[in-house]
């Protein structure tokens, strides 16, 4: 996989998120209360809200626009809501974070 370094875990607040800009749009990188790190598309499946701006609780985030609750692990909407965002593989080596971008980004680069 093509791992791209994005920074250190301490640059993300606990129970918070930061954005990574890519040629394919923004990726939201989350850090939970227990220092798990997840990356998903920063785009709610409901109306495109920026998930990186939501409140993080457990391993999920509540979208700031209309309160969809999205699982950070699967990208799926929880509860009665339906929808899913793309998850992005993220690697954490001693706090140094990298993400793996999919083929879309590679194609765009050619």
């Amino acid at each position: 996989m093509n791992w791209i370094s994005i920074g250190h875990i301490n640059e993300i607040p606990r129970r918070g998120a930061r954005c990574v800009k890519t040629p394919d749009g923004k990726i939201a990188v989350f850090r939970t209360a227990e220092d798990q790190v997840f990356a998903i598309e920063d785009h709610c499946p409901h109306k495109g809200g920026p998930l990186s701006q939501g409140i993080v609780h457990d391993a999920s985030v509540t979208c700031p626009l209309h309160n969809f609750v999205i699982s950070l692990e699967t990208g799926k909407a929880l509860g009665a809501d339906e929808g899913q965002v793309k998850t992005i593989p993220v690697r954490n080596v001693d706090g140094e974070l990298s993400i793996a971008l999919g083929e879309a980004a590679l194609v765009a680069a050619e």
């Binding site: 093509n2 791209i4 370094s5 994005i6 920074g7 640059e11 993300i12 607040p13 606990r14 129970r15 918070g16 930061r18 954005c19 990574v20 800009k21 890519t22 040629p23 923004k26 990188v29 939970t32 209360a33 227990e34 220092d35 798990q36 109306k47 495109g48 809200g49 920026p50 701006q53 939501g54 409140i55 993080v56 609780h57 457990d58 391993a59 999920s60 509540t62 700031p64 626009l65 309160n67 609750v69 699982s71 692990e73 699967t74 799926k76 929880l78 971008l101 980004a105 590679l106 765009a108 680069a109 050619e110």
Partner: protein, 815 residues
């Protein structure tokens, strides 16, 4: 001929390995040990009890000199090995002793990590690793004084406890938000921090060390935020690094540690590595249990066996007398995981099990750890727990018990805890009345004690007290819980926060027995507000529990851009202000400028990254945040009043500006909008606001509880006052009553309807003492609230919020 086994290092892992080896095959090897420390093998885990004075060095020796003699081991004490010659199969010590080996075991352990801040080499700055460090600390303790421990992990906290027991004044400085974050989740860390604080240890979290101060010797520690903590002794316990230099120089494969296979063999078939210096399947272990497991494997290999080390799941205990704490496995969350949480606020117990596919994968226990080994055993075995799931958390001895008692939190309150704030009624008075007078209904209790007879917000608590006192004989009306994380309603939570002096979100969740470990998007913002409101000077706002608008101090729009509304006091502006706004709009190409209903100007469509620069420009023109995003004071709408209007009776603009300048920055349960009209023609539309003023010839008519949103409702009249000062005092007192009483997100009109307009009039208009107390509390709270959030952020606060973490371009993505 007997083969020669040479061991570099004499710690616990090679000690255990030799015990196993001598038991399996006594006399198989001729053993030589080089020990850099001038001692025999002692129990390094027990250094903390030696430091605290609970044990002596002699108590922790594992192998005395006679043991080495009995087994024919040659022990070179104080002998550091300086080189390994793999071609000739020899090792050489600093003193020049060269010994040949057939098999070599490297067990050099680890080195403490010393943060290279200025001053780290000053005398009095120590690591905490071996007996020498402990002896230096004990010497320092004889003169007493302040000590600082850098690092709030296991070792650091044990050092802090030991130093405290030896009479030092100890402060622990820890980089992360919570102590022992690798082993504990935030709720357990809260309990531990509380217990250590009660033992007199100061703990500062989120603290980064800038430098260690002193000239001849250490005098103190300076933090990044400028705070200086005096210290005669600084102990660094921030982590360890595998000691692998010797192996690296010998050309063995080394990552973080010396790389070994499942047989503990290094990249050289004659050389093995054991203990903290070894890296097995990418992991360097620092706890004794896995080291002992791998020691057993190595002993087997050395006698020709084929056992394999498969890695270990580790568990942790803290060796501080009177604190019971256990942590094992993985306690992160995930959708495929479930958690079972048990909290007993009274006994200070927190237990959390993390399950995946009906198997325990992690456990955190605080306060009562007797079942730790039982849980840990099932975790290691991968036992299916579906059969005992309902009673699992209660432990091994407990099967088929009754469900948790929801009234426990109320039962645990002390007798003098205030239940009803309006009428000053404490718990013992209510319980006394119920038992003494044989009361059985809520109305009876209200009649006899006045508890919950005024605003009624403590009704839930009074009813729970009746349940505690009367048992099943009393059936309370159902309370709607705040959210799925608790069985308590908003009113109960608010009362208990005050009655139990709860001053942080983890404290509330523990003491009120929250059912989740981290809360949810419903309860966290509410709790954060209640704590900000109740402890304005003590509580530190929990940024991550705020909705995005209150975190970035702008309003999020449907496309993810933001809108910005500066304050225009009382709706009054000037050419200079308008020019500054025009310049900002041009400079940042702001697509939409809109006049709001609250008499100010909204700039829409601003990129998040531009916000600090926009605020910087607005700030130069004198603008501050209009808090158009806040559950707090928004606008004070005014008409031009007696200064210009031929009908105006009072200076409505002036009063509006005074009110806004007095009240800006305050957080409230929901947004608060005010208006002041200069005459009953009411051009400022004051009669549909949260609080409104209609000026009349004889003074100021104060209105409240209007609405012009989801609901439309004209205001109620609070009363008529004569002067501007009185109007301000009454309005401020009413706002404070609302702040202290209402449920989060409940607007004034809903709150007032729920508790009764008459009750509000009684407390604000008639009860002068009460009004003054509300007023004073609002004024006190404003000391901490009136900070312009925009200028704070222009100066760099929360800058991570406005910048992407990384930007990946095409070329990088394509690599």
């Amino acid at each position: 001929m007997t083969e020669k086994l040479v061991i570099i290092g004499n710690g616990m892992a090679p000690g255990r390995m030799l015990e196993e080896l001598f038991e399996k095959a006594p006399g198989l090897y001729d053993v030589t040990i080089f020990n850099a420390e001038p001692r025999v093998n002692y129990d390094r885990i027990m250094l903390s009890p030696v430091l605290s004075g609970e044990k002596a060095y002699e108590d922790i020796v594992i192998h005395g000199d006679d043991w080495y003699e009995t087994h024919g081991v040659t022990l070179h004490k104080g002998a550091r090995v300086t080189g390994i010659d793999r071609a000739n199969k020899t090792v050489t010590s600093a003193a020049g002793v060269t010994v040949a080996y057939d098999k070599l075991v490297i067990a050099t352990g680890s080195n403490p990590f010393i943060i290279p801040v200025p001053g780290h080499t000053l005398p009095g700055v120590l690591a905490y690793r071996d007996l020498d460090d402990v002896e230096t600390m004990l010497t320092a303790c004889r003169t007493g004084g302040p000590a600082v421990v850098i690092g709030g992990g296991i070792l650091g906290l044990e050092a802090a406890y030991g130093l405290k027991r030896q009479g030092m004044d100890v402060t622990v400085i820890h980089l992360s938000d919570t102590i022992m974050e690798r082993q504990l989740d935030p709720p357990a860390a809260y309990l531990l921090e509380k217990a250590l604080t009660e033992r007199g240890i100061d703990i500062i979290t989120k603290a980064n060390t800038r430098q260690i101060l002193g000239t001849e010797k250490v005098e103190g520690v300076e933090l990044e935020d400028g705070r200086i903590i005096p210290a005669h002794l600084v102990v660094m316990a921030v982590g360890i690094r595998p000691s692998a230099q010797l192996a690296r120089e010998a050309g063995l494969a080394v990552n973080r540690g010396i790389v070994v296979d499942d047989g503990m063999q290094t990249s050289d078939a004659s050389i093995f590595a054991l203990g903290e210096c070894a890296e097995h399947r990418g992991i360097c272990y620092g706890l004794v249990a896995p080291l002992y497991e791998s020691a057993r494997v190595l002993a087997d290999r050395l006698v020709g066996g084929s056992e394999e080390y498969k890695g270990s799941v580790v568990n942790t205990k803290l060796k501080v007398t009177g604190i019971n704490l256990f942590s094992a496995g993985d306690f992160g969350e995930g959708p495929d995981r479930e958690e079972i949480v048990l909290r007993d606020a009274n006994a200070g117990i927190y237990k959390r099990l993390i399950l995946k596919d009906n198997r325990i994968i992690g456990a955190v226990l605080y306060g009562e750890t007797a079942d730790g080994s039982w849980f840990f055993d099932m975790l290691k075995r991968g036992t299916d727990i579906s059969e005992m799931r309902d009673t699992l958390i209660f432990g091994q001895a407990y099967q088929g018990g009754s469900p948790l008692d929801p009234t426990a939190a109320v039962a645990a309150l002390p007798d003098d805890a205030e239940i009803c704030g309006c009428n000053g009624v404490c718990k013992s008075k209510i319980v006394g009345a119920i038992t003494g007078k044989g009361l059985t209904s809520l109305d009876d209790v209200r009649a006899h004690t006045k508890a919950s007879a005024s605003c009624g917000s403590c009704t839930g608590l009074v009813e729970q007290l009746m349940v505690v006192t009367l048992g099943d004989a009393y059936n309370p009306a159902a309370v709607t819980p705040m959210c799925g994380c608790t069985h308590l309603g908003h009113d109960d939570v608010r009362h208990l926060i005050k009655a139990k002096s709860l001053k942080s979100i983890p404290a509330v969740m523990q003491e009120l027995e929250w059912k989740t470990s981290c809360g949810c998007a419903k309860c966290r913002p509410a709790l954060n507000y209640y704590l900000v409101c109740d402890w304005p000077d003590e509580y530190a706002d929990d940024y991550q529990s705020r909705f995005i608008n209150e975190r970035v101090h702008a309003n999020i729009q449907k496309d993810g851009t933001y809108s910005v509304v500066p304050r225009m006091w009382g709706g009054v502006t000037s050419s200079a202000e308008l020019r500054a706004i025009a310049d900002v709009v041009d400079k940042f190409e702001i697509p939409m400028v809109k006049v709001t209903g609250g008499q100010r100007i909204d700039m829409l469509g601003i990129q998040k990254e531009d916000l600090p620069a926009v605020w910087a420009d607005l700030g130069k023109a004198g603008f501050v945040s209009g808090q158009a995003y806040a559950k707090g004071l928004r606008t004070v709408k005014t008409c031009v009043g007696s200064d210009w209007c031929r009908f105006g009776t009072q200076d409505s603009t002036g009063l509006g500006i005074k009110l806004e300048k007095f009240m800006w920055g305050s957080w409230t349960p929901a947004k608060v909008k005010l208006a002041v009209s200069g005459c009953p023609r009411n051009c400022a539309e004051a009669t549909c606001k949260d609080i409104g003023v209609i000026c009349v010839d004889s003074g100021y008519e104060i209105h409240f509880a209007g609405a012009a949103g989801l609901d439309i409702k004209g205001t109620e009249v609070l009363g008529l006052v004569r002067t501007e000062e009185e109007a301000l005092e009454h309005i401020v007192a009413l706002t404070q009553m609302y702040r202290e009483n209402a449920r989060y997100l409940e607007r004034i009109y809903k709150w007032a309807k729920r508790i009764g307009y008459a009750e509000i009039r009684r407390q604000i208009m008639e009860d002068e003492v009460k009004r003054k107390v509300f007023y004073d509390r609002f004024v006190f709270s404003q000391k901490f609230a009136q900070v312009d959030p925009w200028s704070e952020r222009v100066s760099g606060k929360d800058k991570h919020e406005f910048k992407p973490m990384a930007t990946i371009g095409y070329s990088q993505a394509a690599e």
